[in-house]
Symmetry: C2
Subunit: 130 residues, 2 copies
Amino acid sequence: MSQQLSSQTPSNQDRIVGKHVFGNLYDIDDKLLMDKDLLEGLVLEAVKIAKMNLVEIKSWSFGGKKGGVSVIALVEESHIALHTWNEYKYATLDVYTCGVDSNPQAAFEFIVSNLKPKRHQMFFADRSSE
Amino acid sequence: MSQQLSSQTPSNQDRIVGKHVFGNLYDIDDKLLMDKDLLEGLVLEAVKIAKMNLVEIKSWSFGGKKGGVSVIALVEESHIALHTWNEYKYATLDVYTCGVDSNPQAAFEFIVSNLKPKRHQMFFADRSSE
């Protein structure tokens, strides 16, 4: 009986559980979106909130009208990516985590609550193996 | 008249055009999914096919049952992320590009055609500013 239940509901031990929360963040204070250190700090904190293990984090600044900041954190074995465009007061955020106990939505909401976009969207994609 | 049309259909010069193609790739030859150099080479070629400008590419190998390879390319100003789990013959792929002329779908399909998953999904998310 338990074996039958097990085959109907595969154990999370037997597959990769991938959770990807992503969205677009509109109308943000442009000064925040130029502050590479602040943005990297938010992503670092988000890694903890999502219950992920950080492997490496890196950030870059880009000049020009369509410039801004990119922060990418590699975690085991997925990523957080935050891209900003200060002239457009715009940012996009992807929080992709692995593991049944990870919480990408909490990490996404943490960054949103700090950047305070006037509008934003949040979507979920299942990145699990079969 | 042209001004009116312009306000109805905003010029792509006036906003960030972000295109994100992503999906899960099932049942891949596990030897391919352990070959960090091969996977990094595929992502580098995909950057060109998508008509993106590479800023930096990096790859990592992870051991253990849930290990594999991660390759992340930062491009101006978005990313390609390929994560693999060889024990599960599984990979996920995100090709997120900026610019009206970029072609993330061609890059996605290039990597799929090389990894030859028995099944895969492909989704599109609009990451453009308003």
